[in-house]
């Protein structure tokens, strides 16, 4: 049985496809593993019943929107101007997804008309590592959501616990669970989380001394196998050629070694300044469990504390790096 939100998503998707308002609806469908939805692409009205939405729907889908529109544009490169077509993409968007779309729009990647936002109120998604801990590392054979509870089955039997205990870190302090822009809302808005302790993670980390901080960073980066899942899932990582893939000049070595891993991650993270919406997708897709969030959240922290800016929240407020104010703080700029 579809839940209320799912029913609304499906009805709206059916309408958009039937009336040919959009070419494709990007959403989530049931996956092949317990409590893990898969991104899906619906192009026919009769397929809309595949769409689902619950806490098993994880990654930010805005990257697909960008890829679909840009790919389509590229495919039109040799089409006569009068025959050119535009691609319109509908997307199931929670708060973070909509913020990524705002960033795309601010950065002039596509037009507002290219995207139809089916907004969903979001209660957060399941963090795979926390879920694995609940199963004591055993394989989860089956799992389901039961209201605000999660029920899993392992070889040791069934267990039940509150969803809250396995929600991703990003979701636990999320101030924008509802889309910041949308064309349709599939359900009642939910209350934002209290955000007093949003930066507790950053403050705890910053309170350590330099050596401790570096040791932690080093240990985390050493786990990286350079599969680039973090970069590839990130909606803000859309450069046609990533610096990590360039060979002339070669900005970063291709091998797995401590310094090249660190350089790759540091450079990627700095590109996220004022552009990271803390959706947690990079953390969720990482097969090695690298803690990227502690460092990305620091950028978010600086974005707020220094520039009073939150990434992708307001279409009229571009990131500090893309705008100029005479009174921008600059204490951190060191004299040579």
């Amino acid at each position: 049985m579809p839940n209320n939100i799912e029913q609304k998503i499906r009805d709206e998707a059916r309408r958009l496809l039937t009336e040919k308002v959009v070419d494709v609806v990007v959403g989530y469908e049931e996956g092949t593993l317990p409590l893990l939805a898969a991104p899906c692409f619906i192009t026919a009205p009769e397929e809309v019943d595949r769409l689902i939405f619950d806490a098993s729907c994880k990654q930010n889908l805005a990257g697909y929107v960008h890829a679909l529109i840009i790919e389509h544009r590229k495919s039109q490169a040799r089409v006569k101007p009068e025959d050119k077509t535009e691609k319109t993409v509908a997307v199931i968007a929670r708060g973070c997804t909509s913020r990524s779309i705002v960033i795309h729009l601010q950065e002039r990647q596509y037009e507002r008309e290219n995207v139809v936002i089916i907004g969903v109120p979001c209660q957060g998604y399941i963090d795979k590592n926390k879920l694995s801990d609940k199963a004591s590392g055993k394989e989860i054979l089956a799992g389901k959501l039961d209201g605000d509870q999660v029920v899993i089955e392992t070889a040791a039997g069934e267990s039940r616990f509150p969803l809250e205990e396995v929600l991703a870190g990003s979701c636990l302090t999320c101030a924008w669970p509802n889309p910041v822009i949308s064309d349709f809302m599939a359900g009642e808005e939910v209350a934002p989380r209290t955000t007093e302790d949003e930066f507790a993670l950053v403050e705890r980390f910053a309170a350590q001394d330099e050596n401790q901080r570096w040791a932690y960073f080093e240990a985390e980066m050493n786990k990286c196998m350079r599969c680039y899942a973090c970069r590839n899932v990130c909606p803000s990582c859309y450069c046609p050629t990533c610096f990590a893939d360039q060979s002339q000049p070669e900005w970063v070595g291709a091998g797995i070694n401590p310094s090249d891993n660190q350089v790759f991650q540091i450079m990627r993270m700095f590109h996220m300044a004022g552009r990271c919406v803390d959706c947690g997708s990079c953390v969720e897709v990482c097969a090695e469990g690298v803690d990227l969030r502690t460092f990305l959240k620091k950028l978010d922290y600086d974005d707020l504390k220094l520039y009073d800016h939150r990434a992708g929240v307001d279409l009229e407020k571009p990131s500090p790096l893309a705008s100029f104010r005479e009174d921008d703080p600059e204490e951190f700029i060191l004299e040579p």
């Binding site: 996956g31 593993l33 898969a38 899942a229």
Partner: protein, 352 residues
Amino acid sequence: MKAKLIDKTALAGVVGGLAAKMPVYAPVRDGRRVYFRFLAAEDEACLDYGNSDNAPKNLFFPHTETLMRFTRTARGHELVEDEAANQDQEMVLFGVRPCDVRSFTLLDYVFDQEKYTDPYYVERRKRTVIVALACLQPPASTCFCTSVGGHPAQADGADIMITEVGEQYLVEFLSEKGEKLAEFFGQLPEADAKTLARKEELVENAVAAIKTEIPGAMIKDWLDKNFEHPFWDQIHQSCLGCGTCTYLCPTCHCFDIRDELEGDQGIRLRTWDTCMYALYTQETSGHNPRPSQKQRWRQRLMHKFKYFVDNFREISCVGCGRCVINCPVNIDIRKLVSDIGRLMEAEEESNG
């Protein structure tokens, strides 16, 4: 072949004894995960694991490997002699699951053939003794070794096979290389006929416990004929183009070679490559024969279930399930292969 019995509690000591004498590459628990790595003094091999998170292929074919060093001089580039440390030292790969053991047989086809021999791989392979650990329970419900020509207790390629039988381990020395390690196991009683029969029974149960079945060997016929098929238009759509599946795959073996310079000191580096990357097969001219993820995904499936079979008569998938478990967007190779199976059935039906 000798078959001996060892107490369960004694096996850890054997691993410790080996590690004191030579490098031992074994599963080690690290937080939530289990990785194959060289045992350090403080490490303890993890013997009650399902399967490791990384594939043990790293030992023979590491992600990053320096092939040679050179110096840039006024006269051109000069090779720097590498000190060949421990080049002939024996190593032990301990506790490998049968699917991963099978991956070495498949990798041998590529790296150790008459025409092309990869000295780096072959050299490490030659001096490594492989101690396998049979699966009496499938490590995960995503396991499907029996669908791709494997078996939860298959011993081909292993030098020693260890099978848990009740309160003891049955240790079978399968090769000369394996027998050379016998001294580390101490004086052990011979396994009696009853234990050997019990093992057979357990292995049969293990086979029955694998629930996932895919038409792994059947789809080649379809792949032969359907390079252009609408099927390929769908499967790659959600793919992020990351390297998770191929980097964790025990049989994926594509690599890239590049030179990296620091001042005048250079290294020639070999790193893993993956058909999932946009740079894969990108040519210097800018042309890419596999310009989108569609062609790259077709390459991945075709390589495993057709090209490798054409070349070496084996499927290049051992059914370990690592790509299934770790794909961030749940692209499930079991589903893709089964979908092709269903397409074949449908086509057969419509052809009468």
